[in-house]
Amino acid sequence: MINSIIRYIIIFIILILLQVLLFNNIQFSGYVNPYVYIMLLLLLPVEISPWLLLIVSFFTGLTIDFFVGTPGLHTSATVLSGFVRPYILRLISPRDGYDQGAVPSMETYGFRWFLLYTVIIVLIHHFALFYLEVFRFSDFLRTFLRVLLSTLFSVTFILLAEYYRKDR
């Protein structure tokens, strides 16, 4: 128990540092801004109680907000993703359900399941984030393109990271 909490704290720190030091500086033509810190929410145990998940997402978003200087922006997107995660997990649950104490991972549930799971949640997160950021519906399509392209990059990174995590 304590062990896994420490593990999650380490993952949290690594993801925040990666986001702030590396991914916040990435820029391809203004369309691609990957936000990979959302991976923390993906990795939390399946059976974590929804309220705890919400609070974890709240503080994850808040931490990013402090570094980026956008109060509430990342927080609201992350809280939304934390809220929908249990429903998504139920929606795409494998045929014989989740095991006791299971952790969503590529290793246990296969590449396709993990890809679907990641894409849905990252898409929801990015959708909320980018539309809240511009805070207007003019240029709807351009923002939508940004959502799609950034999602592509975030998902790619998360899958790569998950793949290497599996090896360890």
């Binding site: 033509s29 709240f58 809220f83």
Partner: protein
């Protein structure tokens, strides 16, 4: 009562969600330019320490470019000084009172945090109220216009970058003096859009676009960029793409410009509105 408790127990997650989301939205709406939220300001002091380290490293890597630019600027200033001294000594030996005529004060400031990859970009400067920097002052880089101060604390200030969807600047063509409104469309960090130039005006690729000084924030004649291409959008106006002179990716040393006569101008203008 039991019904109420049942209700709460059943929807407790939804309630927590709405509560947290409410807090987040409150932050988004009230603190959008993050100068309002005091909490953030205090906590940001912590993260600013880290950001300062990052920006120090970056400055070090850019040192060569900066040196070249400073040397060039030195030459220009020396030339100007030479000219002024010559012209002074020609007819009368007059004492030039530099303070009386002065309208703008320049301060050298360093950028400690900068973003370019969002739709609403800001950058943080390492001087604040104590060093005389205040809201609504202009920020220019060594190359051209960079932004406007939107908030300052004791030792830091935050400027809205030109790369911000909310940024508007009155700009004119240097060749013919027609002015329009310059803004960023959120696409490419190297280009901004100049609107409201009427279509009968002759413009060419490579024309210089500069500030007008109408807003009493920027002095007039500061370079913004050059025309890269233009098209006739609907209506009677051109839509001109301006290649920005400032490279926002390596914003390091900037100047903050204070207009000493701004209040006077604003007050006078106010009486006619």
């Amino acid at each position: 009562m039991r019904n109420l408790l049942n209700f709460l127990a059943r929807y407790n997650n939804l309630i927590i969600f709405l509560l947290l989301e409410g807090i987040a939205f409150y932050l988004v709406v009230t603190g959008n330019y993050y100068q309002n939220s005091l909490v953030l300001k205090n906590v940001r002091a912590v993260t600013l320490g880290i950001e300062k380290k990052i920006s120090n490293t970056r400055t070090y890597l850019n040192l060569h470019d900066i040196n070249l630019k400073v040397a060039q600027e030195n030459v220009e200033l020396r030339n100007r000084m030479e000219r002024l001294m010559k012209s002074d000594s020609q007819l009368f030996s007059s004492v030039k009172d530099t303070i009386f005529q002065q309208q703008y004060i320049f301060t050298r400031v360093e950028v400690v945090n900068n973003s370019t990859n969002r739709q609403k970009n800001f950058f943080t400067l390492n001087k604040g109220i104590k060093q005389g920097i205040n809201v609504d002052m202009a920020v220019i880089s060594l190359d051209g216009v960079a932004g406007i101060i939107v908030s300052s604390s004791n030792n830091f200030s935050v400027a809205m970058s030109l790369l911000n969807l909310d940024f508007r600047l009155s700009a004119r063509m240097k060749s013919n003096g027609y002015f329009g409104s310059l803004s960023w469309d959120g696409r490419d960090i190297r280009y901004a859009i100049l609107n409201e130039i009427p279509q009968h005006v002759i413009i060419n690729k490579g024309d210089t676009v500069e500030t007008t000084g109408y807003s009493a924030i920027f002095p007039q004649g500061k370079i913004i960029g050059i025309v890269s291409d233009f098209e006739k959008s609907g209506g009677d106006f051109y839509k001109i793409r301006v290649l920005l002179a400032t490279d926002f990716k390596k914003l390091n040393n900037v100047n903050v410009i204070a207009n000493l006569r701004k209040t006077e101008q604003k007050q006078l203008e106010k009486s006619f509105q």
